[in-house]
Every structure is written in structure tokens, then in C-alpha cells.
């Protein structure tokens, strides 16, 4: 089978860029809504902050996996 198109170079960094889009949007939503929630109900600060950090951690994992995978499976 002949190769029609090929991408060479440091594809890992492109992969990281793509992997960071989703978590970037997600973390923005989490902290944006978290700050809004704290502004609406400052007395619930403790619970909101804790859940905010939890959501941040779960979302951030995707970007970090995208960062590490090129090192692991790269050339």
C-alpha cells in the first residue's frame, strides 16, 4: 500500500496540544462556575472549593496523560 500523506517531526507536541483543548475548556468551566457559586453563597465556600478541586483533578488528568504519552510511546 502506498503512503498518500505522512506527517513527520515532533508529532508528540502536536498531540499534547490537541489533548490540552478539552481539559482547558473543562477547567475553565469548573473554576468559572465555582467562583460564581462562591459569590452567590459565600457560606458554602468549604464544600464548593473541595468539589472544585476534585473536578479540576479529574479533568486535568486528561491533559497530563496527553503530555506523558508521547514520552512513553514516542520514538
Amino acid at each position: 500500500m502506498s503512503v498518500l500523506a505522512e506527517v513527520t517531526g515532533s508529532i508528540g507536541s502536536i498531540g499534547y496540544g490537541l489533548a490540552a483543548i478539552g481539559p482547558g475548556v473543562g477547567i475553565g468551566i469548573i473554576f468559572g462556575n465555582g467562583v460564581q457559586a462562591i459569590a452567590r453563597q459565600p457560606e458554602a465556600y468549604g464544600v464548593i472549593r473541595q468539589n472544585m478541586i476534585l473536578g479540576f483533578a479529574l479533568t486535568e488528568a486528561l491533559a497530563l496523560i496527553g503530555f506523558v504519552v508521547p514520552f512513553v510511546f514516542g520514538a
Binding site: G46, Q50, L54, E60, A61, L64
Partner: protein, 277 residues
């Protein structure tokens, strides 16, 4: 015509300066594989004694000594050391155990506390001069900690809910249309058995890995740019300033990651103790 040699070129030193005709030696994953000091062969298995294992032993010694020393002469009116130990204990109890697990979270405070302080001090080794290697950037350490956590919440879940109900209550969350279970049940099972431990280990590992790589890059850049030219000096000073700022940021991330690791452990244990309603 100037020819820029790559840093892998044998005529270049390991750490060249600007204008020496050698390219910037960008750090890669190799900086995490340190030369072992010695390798012990015990019962046919190789035990590598290197910087990482010595630092890990040192960290566990520091944490154990601190809490033993703080708790040994337990007085009604606490001294400086004891009140510091109490602060540390209360932080884990009030911010993590009671907040997440609830009333019966108190009996998990020793486990959560040991985890938090071991992970935190291990991470902190990444910026302490002389050590400057975050232990958790070696995948084996987060993985073994995660296996410990995994075993704990699996055992607690099976003990408190019963071995079958533990899995069914996770696979069939209430309040979902019946037809959705075809899609949901395998995903929830995968989440419980595979995704949870894998992401918990990867999260800690990758954060420390990325942070150390970032600090190394800017430190090397500061050294590389240091040369008798205006661009070199300006770049070098800027790069050094960025390194200092990033070190502060990295210390924040290290504490946060230790907190998140413990928080997730508490969430998983809490989920095993009480089924979702």
C-alpha cells in the same frame, strides 16, 4: 555560513553555551533515569539502590520521626512540636476525612495522614536543594501507593456492602432509565476497576514529571544562554527569573497534588463505605 550542531554531536560538551555552534540540549525523559549507586542481588532479584530509593527511605524516616516525636510526650498543654503535629493531624481530619467520608471518617485519618505527608514530602524533594528530584516522578512510587489505596477501598467495599452488592451498586446507579443500563453498567464497572486506579497513579506521576521537566528546561536554558552577548545575558537572566517563579509555582502544585491524591483516596473509601443512593 554557521552550522548549528545538534547536542548529540560528539564534538559538543554535555552542556554547551550559546554561540559555541552547538544546539540547545533540550532535556528529555532520560533525566528521570538516574545512574544507580549499587545493585543488590537478593534471592535472585535485583534491588537498585539509587538516589530515588535513598530519598524515599529518607522521606519515610522524616515523616515517621516527626509524628513519633510530636506524639511521644503527649501533654495536656502541647509544646511547639506537639501543636505542630496536632495542626497537621487536624488538617487531614477536618479538611479531608470528615469533610468527605463523614462521621466514621475518623478511623481512616492515620492512613490518610500518612499518605498525605509521605506524598507531600516526596514531592517537595523536587525543589529542596541537594535532593532536587521529585520521588513521585518515578512511576513505580505512585503505582505502589495507588495499589495500596485500591486494595483498601476494594476490601472495605466488599466488607461493608457484600462482595456482589459492592459491584452491582456501582454498576446500576439508581434513578436512571432501565434501557440506559446496557450502556452504563460496563462503563461503571470499567471505571471502578480500571480507570480509577490508573488515573490516580498517572495524575500524580505526570504532574511531578511535567513540573521537573519544566524546571530543568528553564535551568538549562539559563546556563545555555549565559554568554558574552546582550541577547545571551538578557535571555539568561530572564530564564533564571522564570525558574525562580516556576519553583514557587511548583511548590504550590506539589502541595495541591498531595492534597488531591489524599482527597480522591477519601472519596473512594467513602464510596465503598456507603453505596450511592
Amino acid at each position: 555560513m554557521s552550522v548549528v550542531k545538534l547536542s548529540g554531536d560528539s564534538s559538543c560538551p554535555v552542556t554547551p553555551h550559546l554561540n559555541s555552534g552547538c544546539g540547545f540540549p533540550a532535556p528529555n525523559a532520560e533525566i528521570f533515569f538516574l545512574e544507580p549507586y549499587t545493585t543488590l542481588n537478593i534471592f535472585g532479584m535485583d534491588f537498585v539502590i539509587g538516589k530515588t530509593s535513598i530519598l524515599a527511605a529518607l522521606v519515610s524516616l522524616i515523616v515517621a520521626t516527626f509524628f513519633l516525636a510530636a506524639a511521644r510526650p503527649r501533654k495536656m498543654v502541647p509544646g511547639k512540636l506537639q501543636s505542630l503535629g496536632e495542626q497537621a493531624y487536624l488538617f487531614v481530619r477536618d479538611q479531608i476525612a470528615r469533610e468527605v467520608i463523614g462521621k466514621d471518617g475518623d478511623r481512616f485519618v492515620p492512613f490518610l495522614g500518612s499518605l498525605f505527608f509521605f506524598v507531600w514530602i516526596s514531592n517537595l524533594m523536587g525543589v529542596i536543594p541537594g535532593a532536587q528530584f521529585p520521588i513521585m516522578s518515578s512511576l513505580a512510587f505512585p503505582v505502589s501507593l495507588t495499589l495500596m489505596v485500591y486494595g483498601t477501598y476494594m476490601y472495605i467495599g466488599m466488607k461493608h456492602q457484600g462482595p456482589i452488592k459492592f459491584f452491582t451498586s456501582a454498576m446500576f446507579p439508581p434513578g436512571v432509565p432501565k434501557a440506559m443500563y446496557v450502556l452504563l453498567a460496563p462503563l461503571e464497572l470499567l471505571q471502578l476497576v480500571v480507570t480509577r486506579p490508573v488515573t490516580q497513579a498517572i495524575r500524580l506521576f505526570a504532574n511531578m514529571f511535567a513540573g521537573h521537566l519544566l524546571l530543568t528546561t528553564f535551568t538549562l536554558a539559563a546556563y545555555y544562554l549565559l554568554s558574552p552577548s546582550i541577547i545571551g545575558v538578557l535571555g539568561s537572566v530572564t530564564s533564571f527569573g522564570v525558574t525562580v517563579v516556576l519553583t514557587g509555582f511548583e511548590m504550590f502544585i506539589q502541595g495541591l497534588q498531595a492534597f488531591i491524591f489524599t482527597l480522591l483516596t477519601a472519596v473512594y473509601i467513602g464510596g465503598s463505605l456507603h453505596a450511592e443512593h
